[in-house]
């Protein structure tokens, strides 16, 4: 027999961290409502904080929490049913369905987490709402953390989430993993959300780390969850891409907070275990021969990861991969990256010609990175005068953003005083 033990210091918090989002996902399925499930989850943990120190930690904390959460939801509904008749129906259904052991086995847990992800990333919700809802409901971030990550106010995020939940309820977006025929498209839109969460987290180079939610970590967690259920090439490719990028996190920022170019990074700081995991996934994705853009981007990242020094980088391979990527995502930014790879493979002049033709089409003219890439190649070719002009142009293109920010800064300083 399992004898319940008293919780150690921090044990309930650890259970909360490990189990709360899974318990939430299952409760949403059982009670059919996001807010009610959240309330039930909080009530269940409150009960745990009261009871576990007295009675000991139950042998299966997740089962205990789901079960208690469900009864807490029934309590809430009972109170509401007095005022609202439509609640009664749900209440009867919930009371009739006793907790079943398969409510908390690991297969059900994965299904419930996937249901939650697909509901939050439903294409009938705006892309912004999908992201906010996923971070809030699947990853368990607070509204404040989501707001901080996207440089907007908690009120904006809260409004977005409330509207999205309302749409889920009113338009009846089902809490389910899509049918096989819808799955490819729906999985694509989930991957888009995951990748955006990752890039937001990866681009965030400053900010106090304690309050900055680890968005990249959350995106990797989402990628792993999806991979458990869908071993598709692009799911593997995206996870590989994220892991390979993540491996360079420490090396890409200098101690004084400046970005460090790939070629200048201290490669001993790259996390080998992340690279290895990414490489295994990438190889599996490539072996399917049915891969797409994420896998190609991962393959490019992998070429860098495998080069012992910047000098050893196989630019021929990278340029070839960019050719393929350009067919898959024909955007000027991919074209720009391809131009740089070709410059590295052939000559700086070859790259400059390609960038010039992109700029002549009128595209990327306002994109300061296009001018700074061009400047970098001019510098490499020894053309210091033109490089100087291109850097100046790049600086000028980033000027409006700088001016905007300094105006706002001044405004805040004025109103604060």
């Amino acid at each position: 027999m399992n004898v319940a033990e008293r919780p150690q210091d921090g044990e309930i918090e650890a259970v909360y961290r490990a189990e709360s989002r899974g318990v939430f996902a299952t409760l949403v399925r059982l009670v059919g409502d996001f807010d009610l499930a959240e309330e039930a989850l909080q009530d269940a943990f409150l009960a745990a904080v009261e009871q576990w120190p007295r009675d000991g930690v139950p042998p299966n904390p997740r089962a205990w929490l789901i079960s208690v959460g469900k009864f807490k939801a029934i309590d809430v509904l009972r109170r509401r049913a007095r005022a609202d008749r439509s609640v009664k129906e749900l209440l009867h259904r919930l009371e009739a369905a006793m907790p079943r052991p398969d409510d908390w086995d690991s297969g059900t847990l994965l299904d419930d987490r996937l249901r939650l992800i697909f509901t939050c990333c439903h294409p009938a919700l705006s892309f912004e709402a999908q992201i906010a809802l996923t971070l809030r409901e699947v990853c368990g971030l607070t509204t404040e953390q989501v707001a901080r990550a996207f440089l907007t106010s908690p009120a904006t995020i809260a409004k977005r989430i409330v509207r999205a939940k309302q749409k889920i309820r009113v338009a009846r977006i089902p809490y389910e993993v899509p049918s096989r025929s819808d799955l490819p498209d729906r999985l694509d839109s989930v991957l888009q959300v995951v990748y955006l969460v990752f890039t937001e987290g990866y681009a965030a180079t400053s900010g106090p780390t304690l309050v900055q939610a680890d968005l990249s970590g959350e995106a990797i967690y989402l990628g792993r969850t999806l991979l458990e259920a869908f071993p598709d090439a692009e799911v593997q490719g995206l996870l590989a891409l994220m892991l390979l990028h993540e491996s360079r996190r420490e090396a890409r920022i200098s101690p004084d907070g400046l970005p460090v170019l790939l070629e200048d990074q201290d490669r001993s700081l790259w996390k080998r275990e992340l690279i290895e995991e990414g490489m295994v996934l990438l190889e599996r994705a490539l072996a399917t021969r049915d891969f797409g853009c994420y896998t190609l981007q991962a393959a490019i990242s992998a070429e860098h990861a495998q080069a012992g020094t910047a000098m050893d980088t196989s630019w021929a391979k990278i340029a070839g991969l960019y050719d393929m990527l350009l067919r898959c995502t024909p955007t000027p930014v991919v074209e720009l990256n391809r131009a740089v790879a070709i410059a590295m493979r052939d000559t700086p002049e070859a790259g400059i010609r390609l960038i010039d033709s992109i700029l002549q089409r009128g595209e990327l003219h306002d994109y300061y990175l296009a001018h700074s890439a061009r400047a970098g190649l001019l510098r490499r070719s020894g053309n210091r005068r033109e490089a100087h002009a291109a850097y100046a142009l790049s600086l000028a293109q980033s000027e409006p953003a700088r001016r905007f920010l300094s105006t706002r800064l001044k405004e805040m300083a004025d109103t604060a005083s």
């Binding site: 008749r85 009938a124 009113v170 338009a171 009846r172 977006i173 089902p174 899509p178 819808d182």
Partner: protein, 122 residues
């Protein structure tokens, strides 16, 4: 649950169809209605005459004001609708995505709001 699928079209595009193309589209639409009816999904389906035949009414200072034309002057207008019964939004989307005229425009899916009279309440 009921959903109204409003079929939104650019009338100019539809008018540009040849007579036989237009007839084929009508046939296809009627056949789709029939398929939905068989599956128990169809509550009502109608196509609308051109917006040039539309009349819009408003109440202005207590009086009905009548104007020629649709409520909103845009290129794309409601050209028809189907009222369906579906399990949830996913099923409604599935049904709406196969409306033949969607090739010439868009379909807006809206859940129906059930109104309850105060006398019907508890």
């Amino acid at each position: 649950m009921k959903y109204l699928c409003m079929v939104i079209v650019d009338e100019k595009q539809l008018q540009a169809l040849t007579e036989s193309e237009a007839q084929a589209l009508d046939d296809e639409s009627l056949e789709y209605d029939q398929a939905l009816r068989k599956g128990g999904h169809l509550l009502a389906a109608e196509a609308l005459e051109s917006v040039t035949s539309a009349t819009t009414l408003r109440i202005r200072s207590g009086k009905v004001s009548i104007t020629d034309g649709p409520f909103a002057e845009t290129n794309e207008q409601i050209g028809g609708f189907i009222l369906i019964e579906a399990r949830d939004l996913n099923e409604a989307i599935q049904i709406a995505s196969h409306v033949p005229v969607i090739r010439y425009g868009a379909v807006e899916v809206r859940p129906i709001k059930e109104l309850v009279h105060s006398i019907g309440r508890e």
